[in-house]
């Protein structure tokens, strides 16, 4: 058993499942947005769409899915290339630093997303 403290769910299975589920949510969301845009939409229609509760909830779900998906994906990339085995202690410092930056950025995106959806 290999331990990993910075992974999102601490377990390979939960990370894997979350990655799959969030991918499906994102696909559904972008198909919807693509369909809305392709079928022709103006500012008033867009406003009306995002005034509905279901669209706001769905968008928030997509934002949260994006955050989880990016966390898990970027964590995988960083633990491939920036490791103690390849770079010594520098690898650990770099990886944890970058992981923190990514987490902070994702946190900002989520809060910002909520503000856009439910703010004025």
């Amino acid at each position: 058993m290999v331990t990993a403290v910075t992974s999102l769910g601490r377990s390979g299975l939960s990370d894997w499942l979350l990655q799959r589920v969030s991918a499906v949510v994102l696909l559904a969301y972008f198909i919807l947005i693509g369909w809305v845009v392709a079928s022709g939409i103006d500012y008033v229609g867009w406003q009306a769409l995002f005034a509905t509760a279901w669209m706001r909830v769905f968008t928030l779900l997509a934002v949260l899915s994006l955050a989880a998906h990016a966390w898990i994906g970027m964590w995988s990339v960083l633990t491939d290339y920036l490791t103690e085995r390849l770079m010594g202690t520098k690898g650990n410092v770099l990886r944890i630093g970058l992981q923190l930056c990514i987490s902070l950025l994702l946190f900002i995106y989520v809060i910002w997303g909520v503000q856009i959806l439910w703010g004025n």
Partner: protein, 235 residues
């Protein structure tokens, strides 16, 4: 004349590895890559070093990177490997080179050891063998044939970057071989050891392992079965 380029490295004399060129006359015959190596060793340079034993794809000693693709030199014919009259032979990627085409398989075996590749059963032994139905036995087909040549694991990028934490396709194929065995009772203990972000889940399903396996096995499918078992256990 076949142009053969071989990876050379002697830690006692060389500061760094290099490629050495050879011209080989195969007499127009479609021989195996191992035959070309043997011919070079016998006729041109006896210091060319590689592992080989059974020369018929059973022992798994001569896994090499042949024109960019991992395979067993003894069962890879020139007609399959050679492109433009050129043959480039390198050691298996991702493992430390001991000399020329010989790699240190230590990391590979460590991962194999982790999956405890032996039957575990604490129930009292019956007077005869532990019997399996033909259906139960069938589940082991495509799993038990692995010869541990390491062609799959050393073609896997996830194994290149994390050979100390990701078990790799060869180890996971064997992990599933014992998970699927009706005579093994340690299923729960085995699964508990695999449920971390590296051991199994570093596999992203790119199927390089399936592409190179000289025995035509499918480690990616076995890894999928392990995932499903982990999911059913946790769900």
């Amino acid at each position: 004349m076949l142009q053969v380029s071989i990876y050379r490295f002697n830690p006692e004399t060389d500061a760094e590895p290099g490629m050495q060129e050879f011209q080989v006359d195969t007499g127009g015959k479609d021989v195996m890559v191992l035959d070309v190596l043997e011919q070079i060793k016998a006729e041109q340079d006896s210091t060319v070093t590689y592992r080989r034993s059974c020369r018929e794809g059973v022992c798994g000693s001569d896994g090499l990177n042949i024109n960019g693709k991992n395979g067993l030199a003894c069962i890879t014919p020139l007609s399959e490997a050679v492109r433009g009259n050129k043959l480039v032979i390198r050691p298996l990627p991702g493992l430390p080179v001991i000399r020329d085409l010989v790699v240190d398989m230590g990391l590979f075996y460590q991962q194999y050891e982790k999956v405890q590749p032996f039957l575990q059963n604490n129930t009292p032994a019956p007077a005869i063998e532990r019997l399996q139905s033909p259906e139960e036995r069938e589940k082991l087909d495509g799993l038990y044939e692995c010869i541990l040549c390491a062609c799959c694991s050393t073609s896997c990028p996830s194994f290149w970057w994390n050979p100390d934490r990701f078990i790799g396709p060869a180890g996971l194929l064997q992990a599933y071989r014992f998970l699927a065995d009706s005579r093994d009772t340690a299923t729960e203990e085995r699964l508990a050891k695999l449920d971390d972000p590296f051991s199994v889940f570093r596999c992203h399903g790119i199927q390089n392992c399936v592409n190179v396996c000289p025995k035509g096995l499918n480690p990616t499918r076995a890894i999928g079965h392990i995932r499903n078992m982990l999911l059913s256990r946790a769900a």
